[in-house]
């Protein structure tokens, strides 16, 4: 069956946007980054025709587009410097004792995600938002698989801490009423 480039782009558009938000924490800029990536992917003369390779290629375009943007605007972001201050967390972390599953919804998680360092937001963006495997993320970031395992566990520990630190509490559900 022939590779349908537009369909492949369409299939990944939401994940590209989600990854872009995790990189820049700015929905407007994320939309621009994702659109620019999509435009490049649609217009490119040569593309990978393997589905997994095509997806990885698109995310690489987006990542490079973001890095170019930060250079142009003088706002460089150290995406690979996620753990310089957190090495003590490695291997010892878990979710805090006062962490409650009831606090976890899309809003609280997004709010907490913005508090993380750029590199930690990115690894969560790749694994949890875009659905990359450790091997795929390792290839994109050009690091060993084991580094991804360490980074994602450390990032989630910090995310759990940030969720506990947020003051956003979901409204209790009202029974028997619809809004």
């Amino acid at each position: 069956m022939a590779f349908d480039r537009r369909q492949a782009v369409q299939n990944h558009a939401a994940q590209l946007y989600g990854y872009a938000v995790s990189l820049c924490s700015d929905p407007t800029l994320a939309e621009d980054l994702a659109q620019e990536t999509i435009t490049k992917a649609i217009a490119a003369r040569r593309i990978p025709h393997d589905k997994a390779a095509f997806r990885a290629w698109m995310f690489r375009i987006l990542r490079n587009t973001f890095i170019d943007h930060t250079r142009r605007t003088g706002r460089l972001v150290a995406l690979d410097a996620d753990d310089t201050d957190d090495r003590a967390d490695s291997g010892t972390g878990d979710v805090p004792d006062n962490y409650e599953d009831g606090l976890v919804n899309a809003l609280t998680v997004r709010f907490a995600l913005e508090k993380l360092k750029p590199g930690q937001r990115e690894i969560i963006g790749l694994i949890d938002i875009a659905g990359f495997s450790y091997a795929e993320a390792a290839a994109l970031l050009e690091v060993p698989d084991g580094t991804i395992m360490s980074r994602i566990s450390r990032a989630r520990k910090n995310l759990a801490d940030a969720i506990v630190d947020t003051n956003i509490v979901p409204m209790p559900r009202r029974m028997g009423r619809s809004l």
């Binding site: 946007y17 621009d32 649609i42 291997g91 010892t92 938002i129 659905g131 566990s153 520990k157």
Partner: protein
Amino acid sequence: MSSRPSDWEALNAYVDGELEPGRAADVAERVAGDPAMARQAAALTGMKAALADIPDVPVFDIAPPAPKSTRQRRWLAIAASAAFILAASAFWATQFPATPSWLTAAATVHNSLAAQQTDAPLYAEQVAAIAGFQPYIPDLVAAKLSLAAAAPFPVSGSAGGLALQYTGTRGCRVTYVAFPGEGFALDESLARIETGGLTGYGWRVGAIGYALLAQGMDPNRLAVIAANVYAASRLHRPFDDAARAQLAQSRAESRACTA
């Protein structure tokens, strides 16, 4: 340093489905027998599910690109427009040595409007209704510029005037002024302007003078915007598809604003 992952790392990898079968079975057994570990696993699963829910995904343009020959012609047209405007600027500089009062006022309003921007959407129809005359008001959405502020633009010798400011997502601010009255050293043709660190273009359509000014914007992009607004203002019509494509293309090809 041991390469063996810690319990926390292993639990994360288990939730992600990244452990080898034997190791995954080992972790699963521990999760089943340890309420604290089960709680950790449930928390991780909940976080993953919440993150996978991507809110407010925009609609993206996935249309195929225009055929190459068309794109080339379009780009040549853009380049020709920009080149014409840039070349005309030298002529304008020699013909327009003194700074007229309206241009000084435009430079002032460019800075003052930056402080008046509102998050509430502004619509061209609303602005036109309060202008007191019928200027052409461009919709620059295709150039990724949104109408962000509006103010009166009093010019000596003019019966009223209107100043608008459009903002982009990469630090760009474009001020557009329109004021009735003939004279003001504006011609029916497009001419380049420089004043107070701003660059832009001015022209006249009948009895209404127009100017479009920006600071630190890519000169080619500014020239393309001006050329299209100029042409549309003469017809007093919205941009057609070709104009919108030019505006989008020039924006995509330009660098961010530096001011």
